[in-house]
């Protein structure tokens, strides 16, 4: 009987590994999809979308972060409060704004040669929210006197988890598939969080400290403009940009808004009640 039990255990373990090994890797079709699309050619009639994002109500007090588990962090960090909701004079920072529809997905766009930099400084990610184009270089820098783990958890792009000691050269990565948004964390310092939006077009922005954002060179058309905040949720509006028009689209978030943004799917592996 023990032999049977042992055999069953071995078979179950082997089956488990076969299942995991047989699980399909996330397909990286992003590069191929881009190549099949016609390249966008500017007609010189592009417009601009600008706006300000306000916060209505009393912003929550940022919770204190306990950095005592790493003495280097405790001494390097100038700000030890959670920075997911940053409100200055009634204006909300770190809202990711992007357009969809209106034909933007029909074209491929030049990938900027300049990398987008994600810095680890004071044991925080800077910036906390960022946008990047598919196949654009993400440059990860460690400016701290301690080791960090850069660990994005995408659903459509390959996941990676890389250690970056003090003084290590920058890590450069690219995302080939559009994905909104990819949570990033440091496994060594669990309070460190960031969000990366990967788009296949350049029409996006992140609101600044004064709540302002600007999306340049938007082709004329009617779009859905999406405002995404990691804690306060997602809001949308319809916007029509005429040729060479500078269109303003403001947005207001209210205190106590939903905590689960629609575009950030935290789906369990199995769905059970």
């Amino acid at each position: 009987m023990l032999r049977k039990v042992g055999t069953i255990c071995v078979m179950l373990t082997l089956a488990l590994f076969l299942i995991i090994a047989g699980c399909k890797k996330k397909p990286e079709k992003g590069a191929e999809d881009t190549k099949s699309k016609p390249e966008y050619k500017s007609k010189g009639d592009e417009g601009t979308i600008t706006g300000k994002i306000a916060f209505d109500g009393t912003p929550p007090v940022g919770k204190k972060i306990d950095m005592s588990q790493d003495a280097q962090c405790a001494s390097a960090a100038t700000d030890k409060t959670v920075d997911d909701i940053v409100v200055t004079d009634g204006k909300l920072q770190n809202v990711f704004v992007y357009v969809k529809g209106g034909g933007v997905e029909k074209f491929s766009y030049d990938v900027p040669s300049d990398p987008v930099v994600l810095d680890q400084q004071g044991c925080r990610y800077h910036p906390r929210v960022m946008g990047i184009q598919t196949q654009q270089t993400l440059k990860i820098v460690n400016s701290d006197p301690t080791t960090h783990n850069i660990h994005p958890s995408p659903k459509l792009n390959p996941e990676f988890n890389q250690s970056q000691p003090q003084g290590a050269p920058p890590i450069e990565k690219k995302f080939n598939r559009k994905e909104i948004l990819i949570p990033v964390k440091c496994n060594q310092h669990p309070w460190m969080k960031a969000n990366i939006a990967v788009l296949d077009h350049p029409y996006f922005a992140v609101s600044a400290k004064d709540g302002s954002y600007t999306i340049k060179n938007v082709p004329p058309g009617t779009y859905t403009i999406v405002f995404w905040h990691e804690t306060l949720g997602e809001q949308t509006a319809s916007i029509t940009v005429a040729a060479k028009e500078s269109k303003t689209q403001d947005m207001t978030y209210k205190a106590g808004a939903a905590a689960a943004p629609a575009s950030m799917e935290i789906a369990p592996t199995l769905v059970l009640p």
């Binding site: 023990l2 995991i20 972060i65 783990n149 958890s153 390959p158 996941e159 496994n187 669990p190 592996t269």
Partner: protein, 332 residues
């Protein structure tokens, strides 16, 4: 002529006594070592729970080395790496001690099935290490891998506890076998309860690693608590005077009450900490304690189940002892 048989029988009797004494001595040595391995495994389970509770599972990005070394440098042993590396270090200790247990049992244990169980335990700890390594190299499948990792951990712990039982003085002693009257029999009920506890541990791991929600684990808690209380009641009603059974039954009943309280406290602590920037107390300690008591509950129920199979026998329709069950035939 009469002497030879007598002499032979006396010699055989003496040899058996000496052989039995030696067997008992070596079994007690293995028994104590198995207890040591079980205790180390409890510490290892706690270390693993701390890794998950502190979100430290990916803090060491390579395996089997840690930052390219077997022993990490002091500079690396900070923040969440402390939890992950300590877990790996303890796992190595448990692996080595389990190997020693298997080798010792192989050479000193007369019962083949005990030797094989010790080998199975060693295979389990090796498999567990590999699963842990797969978890590190494939972080995108962490939910799928973490649940088997938890299941194998508890199963390995159960195997070591079983070895400790099988090599104990109480197991090796001659006992009067009593009839396991009643429906369901205690042996069946306790075995079902062990299986239920294992399923509940898997459901807890699934919730913890976000494979599925809390509802299955709550339903399981009610079922497991009911089964353990029922089993304890059966023990005290039918075998009140037998400390061999009542002690683990009493301990199981105490543990399940403690476990329910810890589970409720851990869940509400988790809800209250939803907006925290990082895992904090008391959520961490309550969750780890809940996991540890769960493991101890499993161990206690395994002890009760094995002891019930040792001490009790089936009742056939004529009221006489029925042929031994497959478990009993295999292990008695």
């Amino acid at each position: 002529m009469n002497d030879r048989p007598a002499s032979t029988s006396r010699q055989r009797s003496l040899k058996d006594q000496v052989g039995n004494r030696e067997t008992v001595k070596s079994n007690l040595g293995i028994h104590r070592f198995a207890i040591t391995v079980a205790c180390l495994t409890v510490v290892l389970l706690a270390a693993g729970a701390l890794v998950t509770s502190n979100e430290a599972g990916d803090s060491v990005p390579d395996w089997p080395l840690s930052f390219g070394r077997w022993l990490v440098s002091k500079d690396h042993f900070v923040a969440n790496v402390r939890y992950e590396y300590s877990h790996r270090f303890l796992a190595g200790i448990v692996g080595v001690t389990t190997l020693l247990l298997a080798v010792w049992a192989w050479f000193a244990e007369r019962r083949a099935w005990v030797r094989k169980l010790a080998l199975l335990a060693f295979a389990g700890v090796v498999a567990q290490a590999i699963i842990g390594g797969v978890r590190v190299h494939f972080p995108e499948y962490k939910a799928l891998i973490a649940v088997p990792h938890a299941l194998v951990a508890q199963s390995f712990f159960g195997a070591v506890v079983a070895i400790a039982v099988f090599t104990s003085r109480g197991w090796l002693a001659q006992r009067e076998v009593r009839l396991d009257a009643g429906n369901p029999s205690l042996r069946t009920l306790s075995a079902i309860t062990v299986a239920a506890v294992l399923v509940q541990l898997v459901l807890g791991a699934g919730f913890r690693h976000q494979a599925f929600g809390i509802a299955p684990h709550i339903v399981g808690a009610v079922a497991v608590a009911s089964l353990i209380i029922w089993t304890s009641v059966v023990v005290f009603r039918r075998h009140k005077g037998d400390a061999y059974l009542t002690r683990p039954a009493r301990l199981a009943a105490i543990l399940v009450v403690l476990q329910l309280g810890l589970g409720i406290a851990a869940y509400f602590a988790r809800l209250a900490s939803a907006g925290d920037p990082q895992p904090l107390e008391p959520m961490i300690s309550l969750t780890v304690a809940h996991l540890m008591v769960g493991a101890l509950t499993l161990a206690t129920m395994i002890v009760l189940t094995l002891r019930s199979h040792k001490a009790l026998a089936a009742l056939n329709v004529t009221g006489n002892r029925a042929p031994a069950s497959p478990v009993r035939r295999a292990i008695i």
